[in-house]
Structures are given as C-alpha cells and as structure tokens.
C-alpha cells in the first residue's frame, strides 16, 4: 500500500519533503544568518584564522598613537570599541582601551 503512495509522489515533491527535514546544523546556520546578515559566507576563511593568529591584546604604541592623532586632529578619536575581539588594523589603541596589567604574583591555590 505504501508503495502505491510513494509512486504517486513526483520528484519535486520528494525533494521538498527532504528540504523541510533540515539537519539541526543547517537550522542553526539559518538562525545565525538571520541574526547577523552581514556575516561572511566563508567562516573558516582568512578572517577567522587571522583573528586566531592574533590572539592577545593590542597594546598602546605611542608612535602609532601620535601619528593617528596628527592625522585626525580635526576629528574626535574613535571611541574604544566594546567588543573584545576587535582587531581591525586601522584601530589605534588609546589609553582607555588598555586592560589592567597583571599585579603581583602569588602562590597557586592548588598548592594551598
């Protein structure tokens, strides 16, 4: 009986049925694209990897800072970005951007 039913479905209908049963991964991808429409098509590409290679905070460089200040002397300096993952090369860190440097070194609590 089921064979009869199968036989009456067209190829297009079958494909449509398959598409509606999306893998959970693809469903999650759709969710992500909905929230971030500007997300690059190729996630594993250079951007992601370069972010990985540059792990670590950028620090204040007085040379860069003064050069940038001289260039933009008529404009306000861009405010510090809130995202911690900001790595655009054009961004010159300002003193406000810098995280606190480490304080004194104490013994590990595992040894306590």
């Amino acid at each position: 009986m089921s064979e009869e039913v199968e036989g009456t479905r067209t190829a297009e209908e079958k494909q449509e049925m398959e598409d509606t049963v999306i893998s959970p991964e693809k469903a999650e991808e759709a969710k992500l694209k909905a929230r971030y429409p500007n997300l690059a098509a190729k996630p594993g590409g250079s951007d992601l990897l370069r972010k990985r290679l540059q792990k670590g905070p950028k620090y204040f460089d007085s040379g860069d800072y003064n050069m940038a200040k001289a260039k933009m002397k008529n404009k306000q300096l861009p405010s510090a970005p809130t995202e911690k993952t900001e790595i655009t090369g054009g961004h010159i860190p300002t003193p406000q951007d810098l995280p606190q440097r480490k304080t004194s070194i104490v013994a590990s609590k595992l040894a306590g």
Binding site: E25, G44, A107
Partner: protein, 445 residues
C-alpha cells in the same frame, strides 16, 4: 569497563584548589599531565605556575587505602612578558607540560607558554653538610686564627626539600602561538608546534632549532588552515603527526626529507557535501591528537566527537564516539558565546581500552572501546565525600525529561572540563575543572 566483578565504578578520591566561586584568572588550570610512572602529577595554570603532586604509596598491602596525591613542588614557570616590537603582551599561561622519562634521581619536565619552552629540573635534597672548618653553621666566616683543629664535614639528614630550577630556556623560535610540545622517544629531541610551524629541538641546545613543518602561505590572504596539535610517535622516533583546523591529520616521516611539508599520510574523513553548513569547518577543527600507548592508533578530538584512527588507514576513522551530540542543535548560541572554539583534550588509559574527554557542566565522558559502552560522570564538590561512588549522568536532548536527567538548556557552559589525564598504569584519573583538580580512582571491591 566491565571488570571481573561487573561494571567498573569510579570514586571520588581528592580535590585540590579553592572552594569559592570567584575564580581569579591566574588560577584557571590550563594543563594536567602524569609523568611516565604516574607517581607525579603536574598542573599548569594561567598564572604561569606549575604545581606538582606526588603519590604517597601508603599501604600497598591494604588495597582499600589507596594512595593520595600531595603537593611535592610548586614554582613559577613563566612570567608575563611584553613584545615591544609588536606591542603585544605574551601571556604566562602554561599551554602544555610534558615529562621527560626519568634517567637519574632528578625529574625533568618541559613547560611552555605561547612563545618560550623551558626545561625544569626537579630535585630532592634530604641531607645537608655540617661541620665546615672555615664557616660557622650560619654561614659566617670564622677568623682563621681561631681555628686550631681540622675536622671532616659530615652530611646529616634534613627535612626533604624539593627544588625546581630552570635548566634550559628555548626561546625566540616561534612567531605564532605554541600549542604543543612533544618529547621524542629518542629522549634527546622534542618538537614544538605553533599555528603555522613545527620546530625540532635538541634538549641540550637552546640557541637553534630545526624547522620541520612550515605551512605559512606566501600570501597570508590565502591562509586556509592552521596547525592545532602535534605529537611524536611513542616508539618510532622518526614519525610525528600534526592536526589542522580543517579536521585533517598529517603523519610525517623525518627520514623522508629535512622539511616535512609533504606528508607521508593524510588522514581525512570524507564529508557529505550536502551536509555542509556554516559550522562544519569550525566543529571539525581538531583540538587534540594523541597516539595510543601501543603506537598503532591515534585519537583526535573535534568539537562534538572523539575519533580513533588506525595508522594504517587514512580514509576514515575506525571508531567515532559522540561526546555531546545534543549540542549540534545549539551551535548558533555556542558560536555567539565563543564556546564553539573551546579546545577539549582527550586521553587514553594505560592499556588503550578506554578513552576519556571532557564536556560542559563539569561533565566528562569515558568510552570503553572493547565493551562498546560509554558513561558520563560529573566532577563536582557535591560528590566529594571520601570514596563516594560517582553516579552516571544523563543529558536530555529534548522532549520529556526523566528524573535525574539534565536538560540541554540547563547546562552550564562556563563549567568546562578541557583537561583530563589518565594514570599510565592504574585506574586513577585527574580531571581539571576551571580552577579545581579532581582525582578519581576506580572502586576497589
């Protein structure tokens, strides 16, 4: 894990670290490693400190009194540095610790942060000299005119002192961040791997190293993958593997050429292109690779699974174990909170019959290869009564949640177990939560 008496059960043995929930960044454990006999257990943390525990063999004749691990030595291995040229801070976080096989009375280990590897010597001192002719006991020099007789200084026992001293510093060989170190079976050389290069060192020589793998493209815009982990074969001193962010593993033979850019074997599981999604490559990135003790297999850990590969078969793994498949329908939020980039490690037990890896909510998973059984256990202070048996945990993926099950949405993704280690001979395991180290052992019947 069914032993002669039935299922093996795991019991709580010890927990190390502070109880308070407010975790200082420096206390975050970043690596855990047993030495070759299992007598010593080393941990490294984000603050650059190493703590070594030693197993106290109390009463081998009474098996119910299992030995405990107590603090043996602790030292500051790495300190924060500043790269003035690039205006970048170099973290003191210990990425990896690897023990050298013991050759004499002292113990040696390699510890590394992002840029520098150090060889540490840990030695014991339990005697001190007494009765010098020219010095007082407190070290002050005597007036030579007051000395009328000669005596032979003697060595007298003293309280055990364990000293750690840096014997070698291997620096300035890595432009990118070191993710792995591995001691060769020849016990003379070791490799260090960063995102794009792998270097070969001689343990005695610090001012030069040989580059054996270089995957940096001429144009960085063309960068498509990075090295995520590397390890030497346990017996074949010419063989090593390295894994990539694209889910491939390359096996290289150093006899083939000086620069091992061309692999001898490429291990890659074919992917169904219709299943490909935005997340496919990210979750296929291998976070850890470990050879089995017998050298016939290797294990890889990617975001959702553990795979066992036969070194003789490159086309696909021989076994695949799902660690937390229920997370596949949560990838969007895991990408947003960065958890999708968490690097979980994995380990083998002594006879390669069971593998273990961590997960979220302070859960960790064990897969018995022979019995085809797996279990989920939890490292928590609530189950920390002496010799308390750990109850298996279950995560409910959806639908009706049974009693004692935890739903996926209740999982705490800040409680991750990234680092675990298995004693090389016994059923003793070390499991690191964010800032605590748990030691579990199998229940002795």
């Amino acid at each position: 894990m069914a032993g002669p008496g039935g299922d093996m059960q795991w019991c709580f043995s010890q927990v190390k670290g502070a109880i308070d929930d407010d975790v200082a960044e420096a206390d975050i454990i970043s690596t855990v490693e047993f030495n070759h006999t299992g007598e010593l257990l080393a941990t490294g943390d984000k603050g650059g400190r190493v703590v070594i525990f030693q197993q106290e063999i109390e009463n081998k004749n009474l098996p119910q009194f299992r030995s405990e691990y107590n603090v043996y030595s602790t030292f500051q291995s790495h300190e924060p540095e500043f790269d003035y040229l690039k205006s970048l801070e170099i973290e003191e976080k210990i990425n990896k610790i690897r023990w050298l096989p013991q050759k004499n009375a002292a113990q040696f280990l390699l510890s590394t942060n992002d840029k520098t590897i150090k060889l540490w010597k840990i030695s014991e001192r339990d005697k001190r000299p007494e009765g010098y002719n020219l010095k007082e006991e407190d070290g002050r020099y005597k007036d030579p005119n007051s000395i009328t007789s000669l005596r032979v200084p003697v060595l007298i026992p003293m309280d055990l002192m364990v000293e750690a001293s840096p014997r070698r510093v291997f620096a300035n060989a890595h432009t990118y961040h070191i993710n792995s170190i591995s001691v060769n079976s020849d016990e003379e050389t070791y490799l260090s791997a960063d995102d794009l290069r792998i270097n070969l060192w001689n343990l005695e020589i610090t001012d030069r190293s040989f580059n054996i793998v270089d995957i940096k493209p001429a144009n960085m815009e063309e960068l498509t993958e990075v090295i995520t982990a590397a390890e030497f074969h346990p017996h074949q001193c010419n063989t090593f593997v390295y894994s990539s962010s694209k889910g491939t593993i390359r096996l290289c033979d150093m006899r083939a050429s000086a620069l091992c850019d061309k692999q001898s074997k490429l291990f890659e599981e074919p992917e169904d292109p219709s299943n490909r999604s935005f997340f496919s490559e990210i979750i296929s990135s291998i976070s850890d690779v470990k050879f089995s003790h017998n050298g016939r297999y290797m294990m890889t850990r990617d975001y959702l699974s553990v795979k066992i590969w036969d070194l003789n078969m490159e086309s696909r793994p021989v076994e695949t174990y799902q660690v937390h498949e229920y997370l596949r329908s949560k990838l969007c939020s895991l990408y947003e909170n960065d958890c999708i980039f968490d690097k979980f490690e994995c380990c083998w037990n002594g006879n390669d019959s069971v593998v273990m890896t961590g997960s979220y909510n302070n859960f960790f998973r064990m897969f018995d290869r022979g019995q085809r059984r797996d279990v989920t256990l939890e490292a928590s202070r609530e189950n920390s009564k002496p010799m308390q048996v750990l109850k298996p945990r279950k995560v409910c993926a959806g639908g009706k949640r049974k009693k004692d099950e935890i739903s996926v949405d209740s999982l705490d993704f800040n409680k991750k177990i990234l680092h675990t280690a298995w004693h090389p001979q016994d059923n003793i395991i070390a499991v690191a939560t964010t800032n605590n180290l748990y030691i579990f052992q199998d229940k002795v019947n």
